[in-house]
Amino acid sequence: MSAIAQDGAALEDVDAFAARARAWLAENMPPADPAKDTFFLHAATHPADEEVLARAATCRELQRRLFDGGFAGICVPRQYGGQELTPAHQTAFNREIKGYDYPAEIQASTFIPCMAVLLEFGTEEQKLRHIPRMLRGEEIWVQLLSEPGGGSDAAGAVTSATRDGDRWLLNGSKIWTTSGWWGDWALCLARTNWDVEKHRGLTVFSLPMSAPGLQIRQIELVNGSKDFCQEFLTDVVVPDADRIGDVDAGWSVMTRWLYHERTISGGSPYVTGGGNRPNAGPYELAALIEAARRLGTIDDSTTRALIGEAQTSSLVLRALVESVTHKMATGSLPHHAAAMPRLFGGTANARRAAIATELYGDAGVVWAPDDEIAAQVGLGYLIRQAACIGGGTTEMARNVIAERLLGMPREHRADTSAFRDVPRGPRASGAH
């Protein structure tokens, strides 16, 4: 069980570590409130901005406690403020932290992908500057990745970075930035070369969200959520020292960025928690049954079939995620197989929203002002396709499964020439 750390000291035994964590957690962390949803994981709730900021402050506070207790950055090297232990220690800690409140809302994007990308591609100065601050809850990071004209085509970014001596000027627009309006720093993908194939002209930068010339607008979604943002960059100055990775080598950073982003569903050594799944609100099976009892439809066979379908599908999704994660870890499936749980999860969640709406009947479309649950069902139905869009559409997932997993013919590409010459549609602007 004992392994040797790089400096020659014996690593703490996992069981001993878990026991120490258990005792520390009991003393230092507050219990989770199972009735309270985390605010962005649950699409049907839309807290006021002040509630979001209060929760963000709590997350910073809790992260600081983890840091002071010696439990932040369990797999991060000591020189950057981490514990330099192993994934097994992180897994053990995640088991112990179940039932406690923890900074769930800053795991993504701060630790994955941003910290993970910094660890792999950052300079020594960049790592020493940012990672300890991330681990102390002082820097919350977000991802400036998608663009209004881009959709699923991340490599087609048209936000430009132009060199100006030892600094860069960034111009363009980014969108779908989770927590953009309360984040501190960001990774940003920008185009530095228009004369090569699209993947070969990209560079990754880091910048503070308070940078002059960076305008942030909260996007209101159909369910009232305002956590996603759009950013407008006008001559935003980024010192060359804040570039991540080599110039025009952004896509190799991006590959790892996207990889780390996907590990939010499991398997990352940098994520704390993962055990306290948010309450699925009106979609919890018991909640569906309670609702059918209230509505007097629980003995109706169609209603029961809908409830049975919802529960069956949520069990199957769980089995699928576990099985594919395990098969990818042991190499019996390639990492592209992650597209299968993504596809299944997207369609199952969309279907679940439809099931709840059908079950609620008129109560799912018209409700009393204080009936928060009925409102969540109605609004959840309006936003349901988000489950099949965000994080790569289900259509993209189907392409990945067909082409990468099944080896079926690739789609014809119209974007293999110099990016400058790639058609971008009649309304595209910013041509260089």
Binding site: L285, A286, I289, S301, R304, A305, I307, G308, E309, Q311, T312, S313, L315, V316, L317, R318, A319, L320, E322, S323, V324, H326, K327, T330, S332, A337, A339, M340, L343, F344, E395, A397, R398, N399, V400, I401, A402, E403, L405, L406, M408, P409, E411
Partner: protein, 380 residues
């Protein structure tokens, strides 16, 4: 398709090789024209490979290869589905499990030993239905040292000439029922063959007229049949799911190959995005089906508290998407897919049979809801 130990891989590989050599598709088609598809020598050979012992405790003469006999048998069922193979795999194993767990010493020495050795096969008369329409209705009355059974089991699987039927019977219609093991060759047992969708897995109706069985042929304590049927139903659901996953896998593979080899309008069928996306959906359903079947086998085989929910979810999901997946494969094949000459229908038949027998997908979806309701009552 499943994550297995090396020993389980060995069991699956030997089964695969044996079934591939013994039951190629043309042989299955040939069997279709026979009155009986049971071959005693072939079944006995299967028993030697380990098909019959896995759900029976070692003390009763059985034994698993991994410690979880149901997970072991899942791999065998998967291969039965892949080859649409004949042989009463599910009935024999379910009845053997019942005898191993609850049977008397006399049953262990006689009928169970014959099942384990492949000298006999067995059928389970249970046929759960939605609503109140009962399936097997058998009355039991004591008579001297034995029990007299009267009634019908309208739908049971056919097997070896030397065979047994596990049937639940009560003294009157509302009374608690007990399980009895009935030899098919006992006086008063009448059998009439039924038609059906599967070419090689056959069924029959059984009538019992004053059939006398020894008291020791009661399986389990008096009045335990209904509880035990639920336990056996978990096993059957997992094994059926395993067979369906096998049938799905084979149909999917045939279809993937077809999308490469078949050209239309000058390009491979599989180069059309519509076809690619459908194949991606089917591949995902296949993976999800295998995952839930495997998870159910693990939980039921280890007697975990949530085992029944997993078994029910497995049958509800796999039973629903399995036949639909094969039908989609037929659609992607076009006209050739509905010919007797093509192999696809072998897998469609097996997937559909397994989906419908021993409780439909809808029955299991309802069972899932009942289990949650029971949990809620307990929690309240």
């Amino acid at each position: 398709m499943f994550t297995q130990t090396a020993d389980q891989d060995l069991l699956e590989t030997t089964t695969e090789q044996y079934l591939a050599a013994t039951f190629p598709p043309e042989r299955i088609r040939e069997f279709a024209r026979r009155d009986s598809t049971f071959d005693a020598t072939l079944w006995k050979r299967g028993a030697e490979l380990g098909w019959t012992t896995l759900l029976v405790p070692e003390a009763a003469g059985g034994g698993s290869v991994s410690g979880n006999g149901l997970a072991d048998l899942l791999a065998v069922a998967f291969q039965f589905g892949r080859h649409a193979a004949p042989g009463p795999l599910i009935g024999t194993n379910v009845v053997a499990a019942a005898l191993g767990r609850w049977g008397s010493g006399e049953l262990h020495g006689g009928p169970l030993a014959q099942l384990l050795d492949g000298d006999a096969t067995a059928a389970w008369a249970h046929a759960p239905r939605m609503g109140s329409c009962a399936s097997a209705v058998v009355r039991a009355a004591r008579s001297g040292d034995g029990v007299v059974l009267d009634g019908t089991a309208p739908l049971v699987e056919s097997g070896a000439p030397k065979g047994y039927l596990l049937v639940a019977a009560g003294a009157d219609e509302d009374g608690a029922r007990s399980h009895y093991l009935v030899p098919f060759d006992a006086p008063g047992v009448r059998i009439s063959p039924l038609g059906g969708i599967d070419l090689v897995r056959r069924h029959q109706a059984v009538t019992l007229r004053e059939v006398v069985v020894p008291a020791a042929y009661r399986v389990g304590e008096p009045g335990t049949a209904d509880v035990h049927d639920e336990v056996l139903l978990d096993l059957a659901a997992v094994l059926q799911a395993g067979e369906i996953v096998g049938a799905m896998e084979r149909a999917f593979d045939l279809t993937l190959r077809w999308t490469r080899d078949r050209y239309s309008f000058g390009r491979p069928l599989g180069s059309y995005q519509e076809i690619k996306h459908r194949m991606a959906d089917l591949r995902t359903q296949l993976e999800a089906s295998a995952a839930v079947a495997e998870k159910a086998a693990r939980h039921v085989g280890e007697d975990r508290p949530d085992a029944r929910s997993w078994a029910s979810a497995a049958k509800a999901y796999v039973g629903r998407v399995g036949p639909e997946l094969v039908q989609d494969c037929v659609q992607l094949h076009g006209g050739i897919g509905v010919t007797f000459e093509h192999d696809l229908h072998l897998y469609l038949r097996r997937a559909t049979l397994d989906a419908q027998l021993f409780g439909t997908p809808a029955y299991f979806a309802e069972r899932v809801v009942r289990l949650v309701e029971a949990d809620m009552e307990e929690g309240a």
